[in-house]
Amino acid sequence: MIPVCHLADLPAGESVRIDTAPPIAVFNADGELYAIDDTCTHQDASLSDGWLEGCLVECPLHAASFDLRTGAPTCLPARRAVRTHPVTIENGMIYVHHAAEEGTAA
């Protein structure tokens, strides 16, 4: 269980990158929290820097788009999913539960 930040510090439409290995991006999509692997599966770019629209995040480099709920790419150039990770809130603090390797969405 990895602490991310206070819920108040991640308002709707914002994202934060946590320096796990590999790094994880946490998004507040209109009040729903999602965590996915931060690195785009197409090429080296940080999805936490991406454009958030609804439940989709668009990669800042080549505009690949991923569904935060499933990690699945919704358009080219990405063809592989990013892993998703469960998120919980305890006492106003956001936590990410690192998905086990065998549970990958890819």
Binding site: Q43, D49, E58, L76, P77, R79
Partner: protein, 389 residues
Amino acid sequence: MKSVAVIGASLAGLYTARALRAQGFDGRLVIVGDERHRPYDRPPLSKDFLTGTTGQDQLALADAEEIAELDAEWLLGTRATGLDTGGRTVLLDGGRSLTTDGLVIATGATPRRLPGTPPTGAHTLRTLDDAQALRADLARGPARVVVIGGGFIGAEVASSCAGLGHDVTVVEAAPLPLVPQLGDAMARICSALHADHGVALITGTGVARLHSGGGENRVTGVELTDGRLLPADVVVIGIGVRPHTAWLEGSGLPLDDGVRCDAGGVTPLPQIVAVGDVARVDGSRTEHWTSATEQAAVAAQNLLAGSTVARHRSLPYFWSDQYGVRIQFAGRRLPTDTPRIVEGSPDDRSFLACYERDGHTTAVLALNRPRPFMRLRRELARATQPATT
């Protein structure tokens, strides 16, 4: 339309083939590529592929499943040598020919070279084979590398070579590199990245000739037009590209720094479209990854419609990774537009700049500021583009 030939098996050709299938074309699809490789991504060739952090398998633009779904006939290692527009017949090397109802020209561009036969150790970098040859040469041990040309490819190669521990010098004929792309002030900041990382940048002098010797006629130095001689074990020539249209000479298609086509990628013959680096779309030719992918969908739609029903209007966008700095640019900048730093600092090599004309933003440049860049790029696209069809 029962059959389409796509000449060129790289990004633009593959994306057009995909778009044709996605838009319902279920006829015969033939993809001709002069390289022996299936479509692969070129941008990493000067970056992570050169440094060895990305392997060949990671460059593939389509996996086996997708290749199967595309249901195309692949003629790889096959060069188009001519076009008979009347019969829409493409002449191929080896005396073969290919006749289809529709034709997609996606033959890309070829690197400009120095006059004469290059000696061993002098490289250009466009293809996977080029990159493998350069990578093998760099693996021989610490080398004095001279990069001729300070544009984005040259700068990326210099960065990769410096990262591998080589002694690198960049030679640029203009007083400052990147001025056509970024303008004087921003070009000065980006060019300073070389010195930050111990790479020498020599500007304002051209290359007179390469020196070479020994049994294998290996390059030994680069003689500059000002008389200086730079010792070199490896030379990389990055002085731009020219659109690969030689095979279209005499075909009747209008050629003018690329295949001239309208904003929908359609040539004067509606059954022939052009996409990517080879296409001069509505008066301008771009060599950008993103443009190639966007033009593909538009050209496919027009080819199937038999006329220009869609137009490519997206904001030009490109990026470059060098010395750990991500440079991103979007927009249509005139030389007279004035850049203004709106966030960050050039000294930190992390900033966001807007180019302005009459109080309006025309383009945006970022160094290591992907997030605000993306926001401004989208705002700029909305502000300058009419709704696309």
